[in-house]
């Protein structure tokens, strides 16, 4: 089973790095080596493989492999930027833990169990708040992260438990289905720090370096969001209930996050706050997908999530490199930054294109498709315009960046490498690293920005992988290799039952996938018994 090496590398790597946390250098080296190994083992994952454990098991998919490879690559580059700019010692361990739990969450067919794995990922994230000095502040912020994770997890577990049985004899109003759906949707919102559940994320933003922020507020919750999408499409959407009132709540969270987060980012004085709210704003688009309750949202949502994670990580890396270069994160103190450091300006420009997207790029198309699925008319146009609102804070950053810097010299961007001292190679390496910290940070941020643009454009087969079915035990369901069976045409939904089936509310995770119906059935699939 090709997923096991990845699980072993990331799981054991996280434990080893945490056990070495009192020896910072050793922990960092072990963490970085484990992240490199995670990239390699991620590339070796083969889709459509299954390990059966008892009555359950884990299965691999194309999307799982892509998510993990991109996640490991992003975590590795963020770790390099973090190390170059002076970051927290636990960041690589947290990244490894989140990758291990994400691998489990995305390979488990049962959403109820996958939620547990995603919860562990959220708990790992609390550790980034810890600082070597002033541990009480970090612990306080970390406890808030842990609390948000636990509350969200409880809601999600309860929601999946509600559906995970025979509900044909339900003696309650159908609204309970809506409540279960709402609970899971709000759980995802809490984990992303979406508005109005953003307080914990805002405090986290103030307490941790920029490079660790995407791990906790983008990568880890992304796994839960994917599980939520699969669960909603498999359990809620086929029931074809009128959940309008509940969807309005989810939609309100999504729109509020998209618009208000951009405004919040626009008025912030520190670039780390801009990064934090930028992540919240993009997470609003994920909430749109959850509000859609339509199998057609499956593929664009998963495409957007990939792009979102990489693009926001690139933005965070740019912020860290900028702060390290100029010694400040205050926007008003960064006047002329783009003139003095043109490479950083190029990096931010790439991030802008990747996150906003140009027509034709996969991420932009996915975002447009999600808006179109959920809304129509003038509101759809307004929300679509709202998704372009990040231009506000990007524009502000560039506005300050192109101001004349006066006589302040440009920031050197070429690497400084002295002749190799073979008699003291270790010392030469340390000196070279020390001399090139800023160049390394900027270069790694540039790599991330290019990766973000490539993923946003739909490279690596991300739209095809995103359209694949979720992990399933018992049958090979997801392969796009030539000569192998493709999913039914037009089926970008994970599980919707055929129209003549009689869904009973139980998840279809462990059953063989069936051709999904694009049209919901016209009537509820159970008989509600009126309660008195």
């Amino acid at each position: 089973m090709s997923l096991l090496p990845f699980l072993l590398v990331t799981g054991l790597g996280a434990i080893a790095t945490l056990m070495l946390r009192d020896r910072q250098r050793a922990a960092t080296r072990v963490g970085v080596v484990a992240l490199i190994a995670a990239v390699v083992t991620g590339l070796l994952i083969r889709p459509s493989q299954v390990i059966e454990i008892g009555t359950g098991g884990i299965a691999t998919t194309d999307y799982l492999r892509l998510f993990l490879v991109l996640g490991a690559l992003v975590a590795l580059l963020l770790a390099v930027v973090g190390e170059a700019t002076g970051s927290r010692r636990d960041a690589p361990a947290v990244a490894l833990g989140i990758l291990a739990t994400s691998a489990l969450a995305l390979s488990l067919p049962d959403p109820g169990v996958a939620v547990l794995a995603a919860t562990a990922g959220g708990a790992f994230g609390a550790l980034v708040a810890l600082a070597p000095v002033g541990g009480r502040v970090g612990a306080t912020v970390g406890a808030r992260v842990l609390r948000a994770t636990a509350v969200a997890s409880t809601m999600a577990i309860a929601a999946t438990a509600w559906f995970g049985r025979d509900l044909s004899q339900l003696a309650a109003q159908p609204i309970v289905f809506g409540l279960a759906y709402l609970a899971f949707a709000l759980a995802v919102a809490i984990r992303f720090g979406a508005i109005p559940a953003h307080t914990w994320a805002a405090r986290l933003t103030e307490a941790v370096p920029e490079t660790t922020l995407p791990l906790v507020t983008a990568l880890a919750p992304a796994a839960l969001a994917i599980v939520a999408l699969a669960w909603a499409d498999a359990s809620v959407a086929p029931l074809a209930l009128d959940l309008g009132s509940v969807r309005v709540v989810v939609l309100a969270v999504a729109i509020a996050s998209i618009v208000l987060a951009s405004i919040a980012a626009w008025i912030q004085e520190d670039i780390e706050h801009v990064v934090g709210y930028a992540i919240v704003g993009d997470a609003g688009v994920v909430m749109l997908a959850i509000a859609a309750l339509d199998p057609a949202a499956w593929a664009p949502a998963r495409t957007w999530i990939l792009s979102f994670v990489v693009a926001r990580s690139a933005f965070a890396a740019w912020a860290a490199a900028t702060r390290a270069t100029f010694g400040t994160g205050r926007i008003t103190e960064l006047r002329g930054w783009a003139v003095r450091a043109p490479v950083l300006a190029v990096v931010l420009a790439l991030v802008v294109v990747a996150s906003i997207g140009l027509p034709g790029l996969a991420a932009a198309e996915a975002r447009g498709a999600l808006v179109g699925l959920v809304l129509d008319g003038p509101l759809a146009a307004a929300v679509l315009l709202g998704t372009l609102s990040p231009l506000l804070y990007y524009g502000r950053l560039f506005f300050f960046g192109i101001e004349r810097p006066g006589r302040t010299p440009r920031v050197p961007w070429r690497p400084v490498i002295s002749g190799i001292d073979l008699t003291h190679l270790r010392g030469w390496l340390a000196r070279t690293w020390s001399d090139n910290r800023l160049v390394t940070a900027t270069g790694s941020a540039a790599l991330l920005a290019v990766l973000a643009l490539v993923v946003s454009a739909g490279a690596f087969g991300s739209p095809q992988a995103a359209a694949g079915l979720p992990p399933t035990i018992g049958i090979s369901v997801e392969s796009f290799a030539p000569g192998e069976p493709l999913p039914p045409e037009g089926s970008d939904a994970p599980s919707a039952a055929p129209p003549d089936a009689t869904p009973d509310g139980s998840p279809s995770a462990s059953s063989a996938p069936t051709a999904p119906s694009q049209e919901p059935s016209g009537s509820p699939s159970f008989e509600a018994v009126p309660t008195t």
Binding site: G86, G135, A139, A150, V151
Partner: protein, 222 residues
């Protein structure tokens, strides 16, 4: 009703009352250990031995990780630390738990036939009723964290009550999740306790918005 299961359910609830009521950190962890060990047993039918063993070993490990942080270390100069106890006292907490227990038992299945034990539902509701205030209104790291672990365990109990006995893989993942939660909590609590004399208490700085100074990052190391 199986009397042994009923006894275990009561032990789980009693453990929760102790965990949220006591000021002594070690006593609260003992209560948590009872809850975590008893919870997987509250299933009908009883879980497979391997799955059950996984949960119990995980529960012991989770409790031990917290115990390491909470124990007194006078030789290391770390003062004794207490955690924020219940504001309404253990008798009131017990009554809240009893009421939630009855509600959980009566509402078993939540409107539809359930596959698990009603005692798991009752215990799950009781644990959740006590864990929620600790999680949401706690003023120290250990209390908020313990509440969080209890809350997730309560959700697992309700899941077992609705969906039936978890299989071995689910037990393994649940065990790992609880260990990660407890391990993270232990790291956070240890960090708080090692910083000054405030024990596990929250920092005032971390509770409110603050502006980061330009030199907040260790960029001067460059």
């Amino acid at each position: 009703m199986n009397p042994i299961l009923a006894g275990i359910a009561l032990a789980v609830v009693a453990g929760t009352v102790v965990a949220v009521s006591s000021r002594d950190a070690r006593t609260t962890i003992l209560g948590l250990a009872v809850v975590l060990i008893g919870s997987p047993v509250l299933a009908d039918p009883i879980p497979a031995p391997l799955g059950l063993a996984t949960r119990i070993v995980g529960a012991i490990l989770a409790a031990y990780l917290l115990w390491v942080v909470a124990r007194d270390r006078p030789g290391a100069g770390v003062p004794s630390a207490v955690t924020g106890a219940s504001r309404i006292g253990w008798p009131a907490e017990s009554l809240v738990a009893a009421a939630a227990f009855v509600v959980g038992f009566a509402a078993h299945g939540l409107g539809a036939p359930a596959l698990g034990s009603p005692l798991a539902s009752a215990a799950g509701f009781a644990v959740a009723a006590l864990a929620m205030p600790a999680t949401l209104t706690g003023r120290d790291v250990l209390r908020v964290g313990l509440g969080s672990v209890l809350l997730v365990d309560a959700a697992l109990l309700v899941r077992a009550a609705l969906g039936g006995t978890p299989d071995e893989l689910e037990q393994l993942i649940a065990s790992g999740t609880l260990v990660v939660l407890a391990g993270t909590l232990a790291t956070l609590a240890g960090s708080a306790r090692a910083d000054g004399t405030g024990g596990f208490g929250f920092s005032l700085e971390g509770r409110t918005r603050r502006h980061r100074e330009p030199d907040a990052h260790p960029s001067d190391a460059i």
